[in-house]
């Protein structure tokens, strides 16, 4: 068991830690820039220009490039982050100090932990072998994602409770109810997908994310095969990440700021980043499961060569899809109004859940029929 541990232990550990830091860096950067994207896209959709003034002093003087970066607000995330860091830290007197400080951390850590199992590309080695690029390509990857992200709700619930204020409390309660409700539909919507991929006769068996992505190589993407599952999963993803049609926990029109009403400065910043990290990871997972991951278009073989260039292009393609999905998240946010709380519950329990169940049963029958036919033809 774990016989690699003794020899080269430190090397292995250091390598893993290094990769982990790189991954955290990448996701955090993407989270920071999705905040910028949110501001920019919302501005464009509303006929505004968005942040276009922040710039580093020396970059400004680069011809063409500098002003362009400035106009796109590329340095705005930096300024935002610094602002959060240097704001006055206010802790209201009525809070439960311990949980008040703990809550932002609990909100952020699961968001960053889920990415350990996230595959984001393929490495073509020189000797012809192919391995998946991921921190840990678990066999039960998707379950890991569900398990860890379901812990994220504690951050919000504790924040709401420890703040000791009505608005925060309502936000926390709403959020936990919403998360529990949509987790069911989310899990059920994925069952047919795995049934399909691991159908008898296929080489796959298990819940691995990389296997799912690879099963779509050269064939149909899964959202073409299972549109209903994709739709339910996407809606549940919006609910789980508390994005706008479902942003009950912080609906500012009726709850001031929701669960983070009493939070300020850097602690609020952590909540903010955690929300966007959730979006980034959620988009990546949707890409892996339904949009073919790092593979090119549906029904097409990957056009890139099977070497390191191909690996890089694959990762780039994966990133492009993920970024499109992040854009989609933002796009939806600035298009749809917020649901009422009872509508959220109604949609979750009496629309999505039965729909997911029916979807599961239909695909169960289809897979059985295919299986029987295959057996009969043998």
């Amino acid at each position: 068991m774990m016989d690699w541990m003794p020899q080269g232990l430190w090397f292995e550990v250091c390598l893993k830690v290094f990769f982990a830091f790189m991954m955290v860096g990448a996701v955090m950067t993407m989270a920071g820039y999705s905040v910028l994207a949110e501001r920019k896209v919302s501005a464009w959709m509303q006929g505004r220009v968005g942040p276009n003034r922040t710039v580093l002093p020396f970059v400004e003087y680069i011809p063409i490039f500098g002003p362009l970066l400035k106009k796109l607000g590329m340095f705005q995330p930096l300024a935002d982050g610094l602002k959060f860091l240097f704001k006055e830290e206010i802790v209201p007197g009525h809070v439960n100090k311990f949980y008040y400080y703990l809550a932002p951390l609990i909100a952020l850590v699961p968001a960053l932990t889920t990415m350990t199992v996230l595959p984001f590309g393929q490495m073509y080695w020189n000797d012809g072998t192919v391995s998946t690029l991921a921190l840990a390509d678990l066999e039960v990857g998707i379950l890991f994602v569900f398990a860890v992200s379901s812990l994220g709700v504690y951050g919000i619930a504790l924040a709401g409770w420890s703040s000791n204020s009505k608005y925060s409390f309502l936000g926390g309660i709403r959020s936990s109810a919403q998360m529990i409700s949509y987790e069911l539909a989310m899990g059920l919507s994925l069952l047919p997908v795995f049934l399909w991929v691991c159908a008898p006769g296929s080489s796959e068996s298990g819940l691995s994310l990389s296997a799912i992505a690879n099963s779509q190589s050269g064939g149909a993407w899964l959202f073409l095969v299972q549109p209903l599952s994709a739709l339910i999963f996407l809606i549940a993803l919006f609910a789980e990440t508390n994005r706008l049609p479902f942003d009950m926990p912080e609906s500012e029109t009726d709850l001031v700021g929701g669960f983070h009403t009493e939070y300020g400065s850097f602690k609020f910043g952590i909540f903010f980043v955690a929300e966007y990290a959730h979006i980034v990871i959620g988009s990546a997972i949707f890409t892996v499961i339904f949009l073919g991951g790092w593979h090119f278009l549906p029904f097409m073989e990957d056009p890139w060569p099977a070497n390191w260039i191909g690996s890089l292009l694959g990762v780039g393609w994966f990133l492009a899809k993920t970024i499109f999905l992040i854009f989609f998240f933002i796009w939806i946010r600035w298009t749809l109004p917020r649901f009422r709380y009872d509508q959220v519950m109604h949609l979750g329990w009496s629309k999505l859940l039965p729909l997911a169940l029916v979807n599961l049963i239909v695909y169960l029958l289809i897979v059985t029929v295919i299986d029987q036919n295959a057996a009969a033809n043998l």
Partner: protein, 188 residues
């Protein structure tokens, strides 16, 4: 002592300590949080046994869903540190104490007896029906998800059906209990 042992002790202490802290903490919310710590500790122990599936189910079901509901209820009812201080009478306490001791001793004895004869492929449960075609030996013991699925759908078909039926009954019961029938007046 190698790294795995070190990790084992770490997580063992975490789970047992979390359990104890849960029992002794005054505040319900703290107790719930300690229970989560304990559950996650146990999940980590499963990981050390390379049983990722069990570990993840532990976190997903207990820490992720059941405890959220607990916390939810605790917060909704706003139970303070003073709640649950209702004293049991000495007599009742005695009965519960004796029962608990009997249970503990019984478990220890059974475990102690069965440890000698217990090999991995033998279960202390009575054998249920073996599948007629394709005996379970064709799939060697492993921690893979597919072997779990195979076992549940063949060897342990009856237990899984029974527990499923029990859960269904519980669900129907909850619906009946919580549903407001128009004719019946609420007791409260």
């Amino acid at each position: 002592m190698n790294a795995v042992d070190l990790l084992f002790w770490l997580f063992a202490i975490l789970s047992v300590g979390g359990g104890l802290a849960m029992i002794f903490s005054r505040h319900p919310v703290s107790a719930a949080m300690f229970m989560i710590v304990s559950l996650v500790g146990v999940a980590a122990l499963f990981v050390l046994l390379e049983s990722f599936f069990l570990a993840i189910l532990q976190v997903l079901v207990y820490a992720g869903a059941v405890m959220v509901l607990f916390l939810f209820i605790i917060m909704l009812l706003d139970v303070g540190p003073e709640a649950g201080k209702r004293k049991l009478g000495h007599f009742k306490m005695g009965i519960f104490g004796v029962l608990a001791t009997v249970l503990l001793v019984g478990t220890l004895l059974t475990l102690g007896n069965s440890f000698d004869s217990l090999a991995l492929d033998q279960s202390i449960w009575p054998e249920l029906s073996e599948p007629k075609d394709g005996p379970s030996q064709s799939l060697p013991f492993s921690t893979q998800v597919s072997s779990f699925g195979y076992g549940l759908m063949t060897k342990y078909m009856l237990p899984i059906q029974i527990s499923g039926f029990m859960l269904l009954a519980a669900m129907v019961g909850v619906i009946i209990l919580s549903k407001k029938t128009p004719g019946r007046e609420d007791v409260n």
